[in-house]
Amino acid sequence: MKNYPLLNRIRESRLFLPLGALAVILIFDAIYAPGFFNIAIQGDHLYGNLIDVVNNGAPLMLVAIGMTLVIATGGVDLSVGAVIAISAAMGAVLINPALGNQLITNEILTRDATNTPLPIIILADLAAGTLCGLWNGFLVSRARIQPMVATLILMVAGRGIAQLITNGQIMTIYYTPYFWFGNGYIFGLPVSVYIVAIVFILAWILVRKTSIGLFIESVGINSKSSYYSGIDEKNVKLLAYAFCGFCAAIAGLILSSYVHSADGNNNGLNYELDAILAVVMGGTLMTGGRFSLFASVIGAVVIWTFTLTVYTLGVPANALLAAKAVLVMVVILLYSDYFRRFLNRFSEHKGPEHGRAN
């Protein structure tokens, strides 16, 4: 251990594996798709694959930030995809109250018209998501239902609620200011990037500048002993789930703005799984405890870099899931104790195996 202090520090860093995975994919791109890194200025904004990665990946990054806190408390939130759909549906229905089972009438097509002012739409979206998060937090912390089961309820019901809101149909949005969240640019960078940055900084201040982060980790490691040490374990959990719902609501806003429509069935489909994957890639254990927000965001970037790489290489969309499975497998193997031991032996030669308790 004393032999290579710097190397060990890098290797032991939480960011080592996600950044490593990102580097592997980027090196792969550099070899097989050299154009991947080109960034040009197009009109008033930057343009290139890397910009697409952060723009397309923004909703996932947001959900991953929320999911990190939930997983750190030892829970999991399977309902984020459904909350995304609810938030998108709320936005669409407030802009355009035509229910999907009627043929759209002409006055609704009047462009740039909205039934509700934009700030209220945003507030309603965020409130809906936070309410969903509170519901999950309530079931987990007060009703003491296992997190996977508790959030499964909303995962199933949420899509139903979203379909109820939109009447089971896709609702197209024709209100152009709403598109700004998904397609706008500030100083050449997509708006969604700034949103992610703001939420990230908020979350970071919340967990690193107050004692809440410590509480979350403590609850994740042992909620009973945290309770006996005087930590309000129930409200810590409630906060984590509510924040996760809040993040999912913002993601839903961006996603629906991005594709100009709300679709109860497909908005945020499989986002819960991608978000969990991003968090796990970021080195946060599913059993709870220590966490890193930044590593989770990098995990989300890895997932989208990979997706766009696959598209760039021209792998058909049907093969995408299989290719993703390979990525997941490699990452999970990298995190296994077996690989860690291998890495330790490799870097320390004869040094003693220090039992890293993760």
């Binding site: 343009y47 043929l103 309410l131 109820l164 991005y258």
Partner: protein, 337 residues
């Protein structure tokens, strides 16, 4: 403890409020006593009031589908049929097959099936035939033998592809290269449009690349983004053939971000939805091949004939055309979907 005592009722009430406020206004389900056909004297003759029609919709992937669903629901209401058994398969064939099976169990009078993909329908269609329930294939086609279903009603997908090809032939007389954003792999619409497009496209126009966007906006965006990084718009390719308007709208977002201006590329799409018309008005699409979703009235009429044992055409094609930007602005307000 204190908080939970306050929070519990608040949350329950809030949840109730959300559910109640989300529930759609009760639709007037009581059918108006309109018996448009035979008087009751002709006992053998069945009317719309006796009809139970099963429509296992394949999903809600696009504006086109929304209009299609709306057409069936509205027609059912205006005709006052006994029951419309409607379900949403969320674009999964297994869901659709089980929905058809459920309808067979329910002993509906007629099943109208919009198949999500072409293949794999033989078994369930045989079950319907054995149960003596006639099946009308709606919109997309199936590969099953024609004896297993009563009729196919819908658009000629191959013809739509050929029409799109004819547009490119007209716009690019000196040849060039085009990209193709195709629909759900294996669906009748994607297979037919791709086939027709290749049939009629001039040999001097090359199909540079083809990738599926699954008929949805969300999936078309990243596919188009990747295309635009791989090939240079204008030099590597001059046109895009898009299998439906929704993917077209997604693709336009990607094109805008890439700095492509309306009119830089020749884009032909299929459907003729409002979104497509708007894209023509804005100058993005140079042509939109119509594919009519308002099939409800035709299907119900055919179903009634089947119930009364009348003969029907085994293949009914809807009347369709191609729209151009010059008429788009005046036609836009008249579009029903």
């Amino acid at each position: 403890m204190k908080i939970s005592r306050v929070l519990l009722p608040v949350l329950v009430i809030a949840a109730l409020f959300v559910i109640v406020s989300c529930a759609p206004a009760p639709a007037p389900t009581s059918a108006p006593a309109a018996a448009p056909t035979q008087p009751p004297a002709a006992a053998a003759q069945k009317t719309y009031k006796d009809m139970t029609l099963c429509y296992p919709q394949l999903g809600a992937e696009s504006d086109w589908r929304t209009a299609n669903t709306a057409s069936f629901k509205e027609t059912a209401q205006t005709l006052g049929i006994k029951q419309l058994v409607f379900s949403d398969a969320q674009q999964k064939q297994e869901n659709q097959i089980s929905a058809v099976r459920a309808c067979i169990q329910q002993k509906v009078d007629v099943i109208a099936l919009p198949p999500v993909v072409e293949d794999g329908w033989d078994a369930v269609l045989t079950e319907a035939k054995n149960a003596k329930i006639p099946v009308i294939i709606v919109d997309r086609s199936v590969s099953a033998p024609k004896t297993l279903y009563a009729s196919h009603i819908g658009s000629d997908m191959v013809l739509e592809g050929e029409r799109a090809a004819a547009e490119f032939n007209k716009m690019m007389p000196n040849g060039g290269a085009v990209l193709e954003l195709s629909g759900t792999t294996g669906s009748g619409a994607a297979v037919g449009r791709a086939k027709g497009f290749r049939n009629k496209l001039n040999p001097n126009i090359k199909i540079l690349d083809s990738q599926t966007g699954n008929f949805t906006r969300a999936e078309a965006v990243p596919v188009m983004q990747a295309f635009l990084k791989k090939y240079k718009a204008g030099t590597d390719f001059q046109g895009i053939f898009i299998h439906n308007d929704d993917m077209g709208i997604g693709a336009i977002e990607a094109l805008k971000a890439a700095g492509v201006k309306p009119g830089d590329l020749k884009i032909v799409s299929v459907d003729g939805t409002r979104g497509g018309f708007q894209a023509m008005v804005d100058g993005w699409f140079q042509a939109d091949v119509e594919c009519n979703p308002l099939l409800g009235p035709q299907v119900f009429e055919m179903a009634l004939k089947l119930m009364n044992g009348q003969t029907i055409d085994p293949e009914v094609l809807t009347n369709e055309t191609v729209y151009y930007p010059d008429k788009a602005k005046e036609l836009l307000p008249t579009r029903k979907y």
